[in-house]
């Protein structure tokens, strides 16, 4: 098993974020026919649905408080008898959690990392950025342009 020290935490946080925010059908489509699917793997923890208490801050910047819970699915796997992968995702999609955990395991191995980043993570990231930009451009079209009427006195 690779120790955590060999994996760059910020890179791992990044791909885990992309996997969590991905639309499940897009992720499963990109992952379905990957050759890495053939590597042996097993569950350390089968996909399990639970809750996470979501917190806010009073005033957005003050004392923490409990806003309400959200459903979360978690899953842990071991791939190739040496790579541990984890997934925590909002919602209750068991297949999404399994795919995200297996990919998290594989992405920690330099032999698979570059290719999986290119073939799975980057297309998902791109789709997420496009979707966000489109929503933002639609909001931007509703920006109020205040104007002051010029009075002809001077």
């Amino acid at each position: 098993m690779l120790s955590d020290a060999t994996v760059d935490v910020s890179a791992r946080r990044d791909w885990m974020s992309v996997l969590a925010k991905a639309k499940a059908p897009s992720l499963l489509e990109l992952w379905r026919d990957r050759p890495e699917q053939r590597l042996p793997w097993h569950f350390i923890r089968r996909p399990e649905v639970g809750l996470t208490m979501l917190r806010g801050r009073a005033g957005g910047d003050g004392q923490r408080f409990n806003l309400g819970e959200a459903t979360v699915t978690r899953c842990s796997v071991e791939v190739d008898r040496r790579l541990m992968g984890h997934a925590y995702l909002l919602g209750r999609d068991l297949q999404h959690a399994e795919a995200a955990a297996r990919l998290d395991a594989l992405l920690q191995d330099p032999d698979y990392q570059a290719e999986l980043l290119r073939a799975v993570i980057e297309p998902l990231r791109h789709a997420q950025a496009e979707e966000r930009a489109l929503a933002s451009r639609k909001a931007a079209a509703t920006t109020v342009d205040f104007f002051t009427l010029v009075r002809g006195e001077d």
Binding site: V9, R13, M16, S17, A20, K21, E48, V49, G50, L51, T52, M53, L54, R55, G56, R57, A58, G59, G60, D61, G62, Q63, R64, F65, N66, L67, G68, E69, A70, T71, V72, R74, S76, H86, Y88, L89, L90, G91, R92, R132, A133, L134, A135, S136, R137, K138, A139, A140, A141, T142, T143, V144, F146
Partner: protein, 364 residues
């Protein structure tokens, strides 16, 4: 007293079957799908998530379908479901500074940096029924600007903070966070417990309470400093990793009310703040929550006047619509024995009353 009554099993079973048929309605009319509810009744979904205190759009849509559109019944179903699941932990506080904004308005500054962004709002609509929607096949398209909004937008409170005209937030993350779903409420309540109770509180109740403060029952002179709606990332630290990861993103609505504060012996005059936060696009709820949050700070700010919205026991004991409905609606369950005993007491009182009246008449 409530007594179990045997003998109603068949009636109950048949009532459930009748309910299922009534829920479905005319079978000639196509059945509603959960994605339809999620997409086209999205503000109902948002309210069920907020007051059900469980973020899951699909479950909220299912609850609405099962409850035949009855909000409080749907909220009740979601609350009941959440008790069946284990809790993995608590998220990092949502970072609303970095919200991907889809709506952001301020009633206090016209030219605030980043601009007034109306977003998908009912404001400025004419509230005339649109009969075009009575027909299928409407495909509206939003206008798309050339450029997206700026990555981050300063808060109105930040602008006032630069001048020292607004109270600053106290932050102490070493303090445990109150959880009203796990510990019984106690009074006086801290602001974290109050905000949690308000966040899951009934929109109608909080709206009326907030409204009462505007009408003079504990006047707080509010301005909508800023309302923003959009997507925020949810961060969580799994124990097996030991560092924070993003586990997805959710839509939230946030409202910051600014309120006049005249100052006291120890505090200079300044603006004070009331805060509202809700799942999805729940603007009326977030605004009401902010008004009531500020009103409930009356004790802390030395301005309590005995107004209903300033009374935290009154507000927090009555804001939860699942508790309220449970207690109010249990009145329709069999109280036969209770009622028989009341009836017998009343008969005795009446007999005494009539006897006394007769004696009095005889004496006259």
């Amino acid at each position: 007293m409530y007594v179990a009554v045997k003998g109603g099993e068949r009636a109950i079973e048949n009532a459930h079957k009748l309910l299922a048929e009534a829920r479905r309605g005319d079978p000639e009319v196509p059945e509603l799908s959960l994605p339809q509810i999620e997409q086209q009744l999205s503000l109902a979904v948002d309210r069920v998530m907020t007051e059900g205190s469980l973020h899951d759009r699909e479950l909220a849509a299912l609850a609405l379908k099962q409850a035949r559109g009855d909000m409080i019944e749907a909220i009740f179903l979601v609350r009941a479901y959440r008790t069946t699941l284990p809790r993995f932990g608590a998220s990092e506080p949502l970072d609303t500074d970095n919200m991907a904004i889809r709506r952001r308005v301020s009633a206090t500054y016209k030219d605030l940096p980043g601009g007034q962004i109306l977003g998908p709002t009912f404001d400025y609509t004419h509230r005339l029924l649109d009969f075009a929607l009575a027909e299928d096949g409407v495909h509206p398209e939003a206008r798309v600007a050339d450029d997206p909004l700026p990555q981050s937008m300063p808060r109105v409170t930040g602008l006032l903070d630069a001048e020292g005209l607004i109270e600053s937030s106290e932050v102490d993350d070493s303090r445990p966070v109150a959880d009203v779903t796990r510990e019984a409420e106690s009074f006086p309540a801290d602001r974290d417990a109050r905000l949690q109770a308000l966040a899951r509180g009934d929109e109608g109740f909080l709206l009326a309470m907030g409204y009462s403060t505007q009408r003079g029952f504990g006047n707080t002179h509010p301005f909508a400093g800023e309302i923003r709606m959009g997507e925020v990332a949810v961060e969580f630290i799994p124990e097996e990793l030991g560092f924070a990861i993003e586990i997805g993103e959710i839509t939230v609505t946030e409202c910051e009310m600014l309120n006049q504060f005249k100052g006291s012996d120890t505090h200079a005059p300044k603006f004070t703040r009331g805060y509202g936060l809700a799942f999805g696009q729940c603007e009326r709820k977030a605004m009401s929550m902010a008004l009531v949050d500020r009103a409930l700070r009356a004790r802390e700010l030395g301005e309590a006047s005995g107004a209903p919205a300033q009374d935290e026991e009154f507000v927090l004991y009555h804001s939860d619509n699942v508790q309220a409905t449970g207690f109010s609606e249990h009145l329709k369950l069999p109280h036969y024995v209770d009622f028989q005993s009341e009836l017998s007491i009343l008969r005795n009182l009446r007999r005494d009353h009539d006897t006394k009246a007769a004696r009095k008449e005889a004496a006259e």
